[in-house]
């Protein structure tokens, strides 16, 4: 079933859309660079060649140094946050679970800010995402630990606990930023309403390495996640080691969330919008849902970022503002749909 011709053509379509999105997003902006030239520059630069005649130095800089890392970073965290949304919703059997809502992103962001203002991050390029990962993991386990009672996680408690802890970490982030430098307002905006503006290839690498590794490993848990949809007892008795694999899933998801917030701040609701939309299109089987959500998220976030930097140009809207504008109505709709449904993990 999952690897039929239909599935392959689905991936082919999604992959072409992703490629098209990346090129379009690099091409469009305050200064537009024609498609052909974008392709030319990307091809030449990635093969370490000189870009040909007819391409201005400024175009080369815009495409290669400014827009491409930004667009690829948006694609990376869009894919990462979407796949985490899918995992969290199946793991907690809660359609409203998402890294932003459950406080994971805020926890990660706070630790990222701490590592920057203590200088820890300077020692190795992956230290910043790793510290953010530690913060995310800590938050994830605290939220999980508090909302777990006699082996069960109650849905509403989980959500409220996540929102509560998230608020705490946002306050702490604000506090650290406000006592540590003169640019605190701008910095606060960056972390609390995340974005991919002024991001370099280093930032891209910081996010891409952990997100890609963790996402690929998560694909191995597709059937595990399917079985969890039947509830704890049924999942256990079709041979899923629920307790042990929950740990794996939380760690892998935290790695993705940590790496994402470490370079882009909190970009909310992606993990809600994408998984639910993709489920409507292709169904619930995680063998398709995980990869399809990753690619769809990687398409969505660069487009959202394109809107963020073009609609009020030369002013940029924060990417986190755009995703919230789309995501909150989505969240409220889901909340309403699940109203009165008492589900227990």
């Amino acid at each position: 079933m999952p690897t039929g011709k239909k599935t392959l053509s689905l991936y082919a379509i999604l992959a072409s859309l992703l490629a098209l999105t990346v090129i379009a997003c690099v091409s469009l902006g305050a200064v537009s660079v024609p498609f052909g030239k974008v392709l030319n520059i990307i091809a030449a630069k990635s093969l370490w060649l000189d870009v040909g005649a007819g391409i201005e130095k400024s175009q080369e800089l815009i495409v290669w140094n400014v827009r491409l890392p930004r667009v690829l970073l948006a694609a990376t965290i869009g894919g990462g946050l979407s796949i985490v949304g899918v995992v969290m919703q199946a793991m907690f059997r809660n359609p409203l679970a998402e890294p932003g809502i459950l406080g994971w992103s805020s926890g990660g962001a706070f630790f990222a800010v701490l590592s920057i203002y203590t200088g820890i991050y300077q020692h190795w390029f992956l230290l910043l995402p790793l510290v953010a990962f530690a913060g995310t993991l800590l938050t994830a386990y605290t939220v999980y630990g508090i909302s777990r009672y006699r082996g069960f996680v109650e849905n509403t408690t989980l959500l409220l606990c996540g929102v509560g802890l998230g608020t705490l970490f946002i306050s702490l982030t604000t506090f650290v930023l406000s006592v540590s430098n003169a640019w605190s307002m701008k910095e606060m905006l960056f972390w609390l309403m995340g974005g991919v503006d002024s991001r370099s290839w280093t930032h891209f690498a910081m996010a891409f390495v952990p997100v890609l590794i963790a996402s690929v490993i998560l694909l191995f848990y597709a059937k595990n996640l399917n079985a969890r949809l039947l509830g704890y007892e049924a999942a256990k008795t079709v041979g899923i080691d629920v307790e042990r694999t929950t740990k794996h899933l939380v760690i892998l998801s935290s790695l993705i969330v940590g790496a994402s917030v470490a370079v882009s701040g909190i970009v909310g609701f992606v993990g809600l919008i994408i998984p639910h939309s993709v489920r409507l299109l292709i169904g619930v089987d995680h063998r398709r849902l995980l990869p399809a959500s990753f690619i769809s998220g990687a398409i969505f976030l660069p487009l959202a970022d394109l809107i963020a930097r073009t609609v009020m140009s030369p002013q940029e809207i924060r990417l986190g503002v755009i995703t919230s504008l789309v995501g909150v109505p989505f969240f409220l709709f889901l909340l309403r749909r699940n109203f009165g449904r008492k589900t227990i993990v």
Partner: protein
Amino acid sequence: MRKEKQSIKVSGLCYAVTGKTIVADTSFEIEKNEFLGIVGPNGAGKSTLLKLLTRILTPSDGYILIDGEDIFGYDPKELYRKISFLPQISYFDFPLSVLEVVLMGRYPYLGIFASENEDDIKHAENCLSLVDMDGFSQRKVTTLSGGEQQRVSVARVLAQETDFIFLDEPSSHLDIHHKFALMELLSSLAQKGKGIVAVLHDLDLASRFCDKILVLENGRSKGLGKPSQVLSEDILSSVFKIKGSWDPGSGNLSVSL
């Protein structure tokens, strides 16, 4: 493997949580070829016993041997190729298709990246027709009624092809026709060599279809044996607080308050 010991042996089983004993010193044996009904008043520990037998809970004392080997000695997939479980409540919050749900019964047989093949799908379809759900395989479970969802869950358990099947109140959401159909199905599976263990509330139904009955009260066994022997007037009045008698003509149990 030890073919001669295809049974489940329960010995001195205890389960206590926060000081409260729920299952106390229960010992019995479940054999293939038999349909065992577990009955008892609310809070007698029936569901807990079933969860202990399926390794969902860990006993505080005692042991369970499956085919002569301790239940905790099995790797999960290996164990759940021998035993399967139908929980009391099935949760369907996500719009899985009926076929997708039933195919999950094949998971203990599949490797990490393997997918179900044609045989698995055919097998799943057969299981669906056993519970009178032919033609439903592409429907979303979320659009089905409670009873239909229950039958899909039974099909999922059957798809697991285990020697022993444990069911917690399998007939609770079913209409009278499907209630009898399910009990007949379980009884015929037992005749074909499976060991069936079901928690049942309906004593009449249990006495009609089960080969053996286990009566539980306050976590303790009050008797195990043929329905007509175990569900004596004494037990019915002391454990269930009802009057009951066996009709010598039809061999059926009739109960009243």
